[in-house]
Symmetry: C2
Subunit: 428 residues, 2 copies
């Protein structure tokens, strides 16, 4: 079984290393020797800490996809379009199976690529695209295949979880912790892909397609990040018995799904609340199995290479399944519900002028929308120069539409300073 | 794809129910209709809450294994020998794939049965035998197949974990909590199989065979249960920063493995320390992926049926892998290390007469074996009628041989009352 590996960054080099170090046991498990035959990257001269001298070199991954003598094309270039997509299409066109770690590609073009693969009788595998080393694709597609899934959710971005964990442990503000994470290599120089929830959304789109056996339109996802969370929020939710986690959640009721990525308040006693730092975790809820949670490293060379090569071993073993568990030709498009109709409890932080009547006005705005307040807490007493004080509220269950109307009215009050911070409280 | 289901207890009835309720989605995922054709149990007249009227009935599972018109024989009888073993052998002899939930059977006869299956080109699947609904067999055999495993461990018995959790939460003694667990249906009338560690050992033997690609002799496992743990131990380890968990641990160094089931002190911050109640959890450590933990329901009709039917779907999908990931014909027997050579830190609870010099004698016995004491605490001061007081010690790393020599000497002292309680402190 010969591989052509496109992209020799951290994951590509890790994959080459793994295949070399574990070669004997992989051969025993796969029932065939598995070896790299060709590689491609931008710069042939760069030292990547692995010996590439025995591999055929290609400057162009598309050329490698068509011309290399290989059974499997391993796409580790990244990005939702461009060279990655062109190379994967070329590989499938040339009769090669494809293994990819590219979440953006599968989230945006998974159904179209799966159609090509399935029509050609080829495998398109993407275990490494979701939750790094955790084999959650295999768990859901095969290990829990007997179940109808009604909900799947998880911590799908290690950078965000690291930042939220560090904010809680140190009491620091978001911007400072982000800067530290960047210095430590846990966050990119341009962090928006991670901290604005897009990376987690790519993974959630893939999990939802698999869980519901449906094609997901990426634009149907509701996506929020963690930029607006303050040290005060972290402290306040802790006192209320919660932790803040950026979750990706896919749930389905009566044929319609909610697909949403946003920071959530989760009860401290929920298993997912204990998942800290860069660790990822996914909870799959099946109608017979109940709740199964898988935790592990969500990124990094070793874990991602583990997932890539496990896909390769599957192919060598002759495991050939539809990309999203059921044939893509019979997958309907997933119908989603608008967030306006989402029902839940909420945490709200307002900044208001510390003067008589303000709380009464806020309470009235909520009451008029039928929103019942569970707790309200004014923190401090006009300690800031301008007399501004934060007010922390939690509500009982309401729709987002009602909440948004109430918040518009509250924001328009002359006593309200700046936009409110609103976080959903998730029952897990 | 037609099934013959032997055994219609909780799991058997759950499996019939699952196949009925999820029939359409299973057909879509399996690429074939999957249905029960025949069943067998002791009593045909018993009401099991599922409709059996369309199935052929057999009184004898062996007869069903040979005569029923079925592709897959599902063994849910239980027990390491007897009817279960005879029926599985008959089914393999008759060219039927076998799916079983029987941990005792696979732990004791897995290699021999795998030989039969592999020689006949049949599948012998046993996902339900380990950790109930958690698809840990698939995770290790396929999802993490790229890795060398150096250690795998877990909470493999829900009854023990329930008892230990309840002891901590209520402060109650073992015997009282066990009686409550029996009343609630979490423990059997004869609980020894669970609380003495045998059930967990069956599961560990299977995980070890899979992790190390070796045949495991069940008698090579070191097995201890949780009967000797007192409320005082639970309280003391809590103060020391630990939780007590019954773990099954398989680790390998320099070609030799330790296979052991016993109560362990684990640091409160370890993910497995947070796994409470009847939940099971398995941690697999791979040389590239690092640590992956899977948690979920370890028993019960729904979770176990989920695992059984996922195995069935694998067979329907044409997934045919060696029973223990590598062909059984090439599996060496696993060489294990004696526990005498095991190195670790320990927790020791002694009961001694409260009189001068006792602590000095205990300390001297440990010193003479080169065992260094990390902490020592005398609890209370002769409050019991006979002047007996508990002394709690923790040691730095030592071998079991040295510790046992020191404990023999301590036990022989006239000031020592009753046997010591010794618990291993596990670094996870």
């Amino acid at each position: 079984m010969t591989l052509a590996v496109a992209g020799l960054g951290t994951v590509g080099a890790g994959t080459v290393k793994l295949l070399h170090e574990n070669r004997a046991l992989i051969a025993a498990r796969a029932g065939a020797d598995v070896a790299v035959g060709a590689v491609s990257a931008r710069d042939a001269s760069k030292n990547r800490g692995v010996d590439l001298s025995n591999f055929q070199w290609f400057d162009d991954p598309v050329e490698m996809a068509t011309q290399a003598d290989a059974d499997i094309f391993v796409e580790l270039i990244g990005g939702s379009g461009g060279a990655a997509k062109a190379a994967v299409l070329a590989a499938l066109g040339a009769g090669k199976h494809v293994v990819t770690a590219n979440k953006a590609l599968i989230a945006h073009h998974g159904a179209a690529l799966a159609e090509r693969a399935e029509a050609a009788g080829l495998v398109l595998a993407y275990e490494a695209a979701v939750a790094g080393g955790i084999p959650i694709i295999k768990v859901m597609r095969e290990g829990l295949a007997a179940n109808r899934f009604d909900r799947v959710y998880g911590i799908l971005n290690g950078t965000c979880n690291y930042i939220l964990t560090a904010m809680r442990e140190t009491g620091g503000e978001f911007a400072d912790i982000l800067a530290e994470a960047q210095a430590l290599g846990y966050a990119e120089a341009d962090p928006s892909f991670d901290i604005d929830g897009v990376d987690a959304a790519h993974k959630l789109a893939i999990l939802a397609a698999l869980a519901f056996g449906s094609a997901v339109r990426f634009e149907d996802l509701h996506i929020e990040g963690i930029r607006d969370i303050s040290a005060l929020d972290i402290k306040s939710v802790d006192e209320l018995g919660y932790r803040i986690k950026l979750l990706g959640i896919a749930n389905r009721q009566e044929g319609r799904a909610e697909l949403r990525v946003h920071p959530c308040l989760v009860d401290k006693s929920a298993p997912i609340a204990a998942v800290e730092g860069v660790t990822n975790a996914v909870v799959a809820e099946g109608n017979f199995v109940g709740s199964v949670i898988c935790e592990g490293p969500g990124a990094g060379a070793g874990p991602t290479a583990s997932a890539v090569v496990s896909d390769v071993i599957d192919i060598a073993r002759g495991i050939k399944l539809p990309t999203f568990a059921t044939p893509v030709s019979s997958m309907p498009v997933l119908e989603t519900s608008p967030m306006d109709g989402h029902r839940g409890c909420h945490y709200i932080r307002l900044t208001v002028h510390d003067q008589p009547g303000v709380i009464a006005d806020v309470a009235a705005a909520l009451r008029d929308e039928g929103i019942s307040v569970e707790s309200m807490l004014q923190r401090g007493r006009g300690t800031e120069a301008d007399g501004a004080v934060p007010v922390i509220l939690t509500t009982h269950e309401t729709t987002e539409a009602a909440l948004n109307r109430a918040l518009s009215r509250i924001s328009a009050m002359s006593t309200t300073l700046g936009p409110p911070c609103v976080l959903r409280i998730e029952s897990l």
